[in-house]
Symmetry: C2
Subunit: 255 residues, 2 copies
């Protein structure tokens, strides 16, 4: 179906486009990556979990900037009001009850025994992680607004990933507590709310075969990006002897 | 020594700074990467060589754009006149005797049996390669001009890499000819000319400990970038079963 859209053969109905996005996106979603499979099977070492949390922090910390860049591209206050919720979700409130996603991710990193300052400095993250995050900012600024919004649709699948990951992590890693994983709880309602909004826009805006193909391409480009971050982690921390110079070296790492 | 510069403890003489750059850069240069070691030992399959040429094309094709962005940052016609040689070297002349580096790289790719259009389209390259190339453009535009110029200093080491690679490839892969490797011949005088120019500027411009540290950091950042591209290749094409979805799959690849 994706190839047919790419070829621009005919205009899909909104429902067909939604289906195409869901199918193509889920097939390439990083839930299927070997690193996540190892994680959910309980087969990662503490050091590998730390490397994941450290690197993923680079991604988490960039989300509000990414969303601000998208917000800044729209002329429509209604769009911007809806989109700013994402910024608030991740940056939180200074002294609020509600931590933002970034602070919760730091809790996760600290819960895994990482030093907070080391994590926030990002110097020990894999260069490849930083490049992928930079490519995400390029994607949402250099393509169309449709591309930027469609690239966020990986959130359609995030509840599935969280639904697998949280119980698996609690069951299979004795040092992981519910408190450590508090990042994921609010995501279970935030992600579907955001995805629903983005999906409604994408199916409305993509009113030619070219734009429909563009939307699917954007979602796949985002899937590639998440996949590449796990490739980098897998290569550095699962394949033996491949941590690049200067990157985080877990204490328990076999060389 | 690099740590001392980073700490900004004292101003190095130009000779000391050059020495620091040469030492720190060479230690992190991708010549030491396992993928290059396999290549020089004659241990790569044709498919792995193809993957290397295909992905490296993304880097080669971006060099003139990268150099134009650097040229555009300078107010100094003398600097720009010198720097534009790099653009000419890679883009070549339309009907000239002298092919540019990009065309020569395509010869290499074709010599390895790749389809020219597939290579220039770049869709089958690893996403991680494209991200690293994008990060290179960010590095030369978002940092200082000193950072941009210092990041080019990996060329100091390129004759060593070529001196190892060309004889090793000719000796150990019977399908590789001198014609296929014609990219590398002019690089043996272009790279030292460019590196000498950049080195003279960097040692003159870096007149505080902070700027000296910045220059070393820029060179290491570039080394990280070249290293990350080989990490991505190694993961996808040497580690079994890890080619990301959508990327080039060599005909001879074991799955």
């Amino acid at each position: 179906m994706v190839e047919a859209i790419r070829a621009g053969q005919r205009l899909l109905t909104p429902t067909e486009l939604e289906q195409a996005l869901r199918e193509a996106g889920f097939a390439r979603y990083h839930i299927h990556h070997p690193f996540h499979r190892l994680m959910n099977a309980g087969d990662l070492t503490l050091g590998q979990m730390q490397a994941w949390a450290l690197n993923r922090y680079c991604y988490q910390a960039t989300i509000p900037k990414k969303d601000a860049l998208i917000l800044a591209r729209s002329e429509d206050p209604e769009f911007r009001r809806e989109w700013r919720k994402r910024i608030i979700d991740h940056d939180g409130e200074e002294n609020g009850e509600k931590d933002g996603g970034i602070r919760r991710w730091l809790k996760l990193a600290e819960g895994l025994g990482l030093d907070r300052d080391m994590v926030t400095a990002r110097r020990k993250a894999l260069p490849a992680t930083r490049y992928a995050v930079g490519a995400y900012l390029d994607l949402v600024t250099q393509g169309s607004l449709l591309t930027a919004v469609a690239s966020s649709l990986t959130e359609l699948f995030s509840p599935v990933a969280i639904g697998e990951r949280v119980p698996a992590m609690l069951a299979r890693y004795d040092y992981i507590t519910e408190e450590t994983l508090s990042y994921f709880t609010p995501r279970l309602h935030q992600a579907p709310r955001d995805a629903e909004h983005a999906l409604a826009l994408v199916t409305r805006w993509a009113d030619t075969p070219e734009k429909q193909a563009e939307a699917v391409e954007a979602l796949l480009a985002k899937c590639d990006l998440l996949w590449a971050m796990l490739d980098a982690l897998h290569h550095a921390y699962v394949s033996p002897g491949q941590i690049p110079p200067g990157a985080f070296r877990p204490k328990d790492h076999r060389t």
